[in-house]
């Protein structure tokens, strides 16, 4: 049973005290809805140093086969740390207002 199905349960059926019974289920809980600014990656500029991946306070920088491939927008809260930490000579990440980007 996924967390998404659990959300629909009434109070009598939810685990006592809101205990989560499924390990590693934070991934199933979308928290990207808070985001005001969205990170946009310029793949041309990106050098794959992965400093953004290290510094992201969530796990919202996606890396596949050692290559930075973008952002997990289900969990990115738009804090902009990745854009700040991206080296000055690179600056491959810009933060754009969500509203303008829709």
């Amino acid at each position: 049973m996924s967390e998404k199905e659990e959300k629909k349960k009434g109070w009598k059926d939810l685990p006592i005290g809101g205990v989560l019974l499924i390990p590693g289920s934070a991934h199933d809980y979308s928290t990207g809805g808070w985001r005001k600014f969205r990170p946009i990656l310029d793949e041309e500029k990106c050098t794959d140093c992965k400093i953004c991946w290290v510094m992201c306070p969530d796990s919202a920088v996606k890396v596949e086969d050692g290559k930075m491939v973008g952002f997990d927008l289900e969990h990115c809260k738009g804090c902009g740390i990745c854009a700040v930490e991206c080296p000055d000579k690179v600056k491959a990440i810009t933060m754009v207002e969500e509203e303008e980007n829709k």
Partner: protein, 400 residues
């Protein structure tokens, strides 16, 4: 001074603090985390002696503050341990935010609260400002009149807290100095009787159970928070049946009766005082005096304040003409103390509901004498005769 191992039954003279510490020693909890504060210090002082002497198997965590004490209790309880602590006054105030976490996570921690006034001005003596401030923190609260009751409540608290229908922390309250430091004769139980009565704690979940990993206290927003609080509210409601059944089992096993409230000479009573804890003893003397002179007065002493036994209380008081609810705390709402407000609310809607007045008394350890109780009864008898309530809420035992 540790209590002798042998079961001396009903010939033990102990202070309230010693009796609570002895109950903790006999319960032999897995974890105790505490920080000393007057007047509850004696509890931890004696319990740490039991610990140092190897009389308990408890992991004793001596922390640097009460906030840490309750935090350590929460962690240990989430790990599946049977956990206890004790505090008073500012100590309970410093535990505040963690009290809500203990109840919200449904952790059956037992806390002995030795009631003491809150600063400012600083005062170490008895009133109920500390525990009454925590009345909405989701803890069950039992108020003890005597050393015997404090001891018995500690034992029952374990069963109530850990019951699968409840799983809420329980606060046992006893009056600072008046009960905590006064020696009374009491009946203790043997270790084996207590072991059998409280049974073994089987936690629903344990953080140490790595085969079945769980997360406590995860982020719970608009989609689930109210459901989790609704569960918690239900647990407090279910606690009513559990408190009664545990009390019945205690009575069947050991002969002492415990319910929601104690009624004293309420048969045919015209007026009544409602009061908590040790001050009920003083009030009983006044009841006896007035009954001897033909005045029909009585007393109702709630033992359980959370959950609030509103039905039973209104049932008990519905036949009288006037009730005074005496609070050893002021809510500073300009409408009296919490016991008054809730008792008066419980009476609303009754046919021929009695007049209900509130009086704040005894703050910061101010004496509440038999004469003070007699004065309140005389006022109630006057209200009964004239129907005139001059002041709904007021102070007594205060210099004008």
């Amino acid at each position: 001074m540790a209590v002798e191992e042998k079961n001396t039954r009903c010939q033990v003279g102990l202070t309230g603090n010693s009796a609570v510490a002895y109950a903790m020693k006999q319960i032999n909890p897995d974890v105790v985390a505490a920080y000393p504060i007057t007047p509850s210090t004696g509890v931890m002082e004696e319990f740490s002696s039991y610990h140092a002497d190897g009389k308990v198997d408890t992991e004793l965590i001596t922390v640097e503050s009460e906030h840490s004490a309750m935090s350590a209790c929460v962690g240990a309880a989430a790990a599946g341990a049977r956990v206890m602590t004790a505090t008073s006054s500012q100590g309970l105030a410093l535990m505040w935010e963690v009290l809500y976490i203990a109840s919200g996570m449904r952790l059956p921690i037992v806390l002995a609260c030795v009631n003491r006034a809150l600063s400012a001005p600083i005062n170490i003596h008895c009133d109920h400002s500390d525990s009454m401030g925590a009345r909405d923190s989701g803890w069950i609260q039992l108020y003890s009149e005597t050393v015997q009751e404090a001891y018995d409540n500690m034992l029952q608290a374990v069963r109530i807290a850990e019951h699968p229908d409840v799983l809420l922390p329980v606060m046992i309250c006893l009056d600072g100095f008046i009960t905590s430091h006064a020696i009374e004769n009491l009946c203790t139980l043997s270790d084996s009787e207590i072991k059998e009565f409280i049974g073994q704690y089987k936690p629903r979940h344990s953080l140490l159970d790595t085969d079945n990993p769980v997360t406590f206290g995860a982020l719970t927003l608009q989609d689930n928070y109210i459901e989790i609080k609704r569960q918690q509210s239900q647990a407090m409601d279910m606690a009513k049946d559990v408190i009664l059944s545990v009390g019945k089992d205690f009575e069947d096993s050991f002969g002492r009766e415990y319910g929601f409230l104690e009624s004293y000479r309420m048969e045919g009573a015209d007026v009544a005082i409602v009061i908590l804890s040790s001050a009920a003893g003083t009030t009983k003397v006044a009841v006896d005096e007035l009954r001897r002179s033909g005045k029909n007065v009585g007393l109702v002493r709630p033992r359980v304040f959370r959950p609030f036994p509103y039905k039973e209380l209104s049932e008990e008081l519905k036949g009288v003409k006037a009730v005074a609810v005496l609070d050893r705390v002021d809510s500073m709402s300009s409408f009296g103390g919490p016991l008054f407000v809730e008792t008066r609310s419980a009476m609303y809607g009754l046919e021929n509901a009695p007049a209900v007045i509130g009086r704040v008394f005894g703050l910061g350890g101010r004496d509440y004498r038999v004469a003070d109780a007699v004065d309140v009864f005389e006022l109630l008898l006057n209200i009964k005769d004239t129907g005139n309530v001059d002041k709904v809420v007021d102070y007594i035992t205060v210099r004008e």
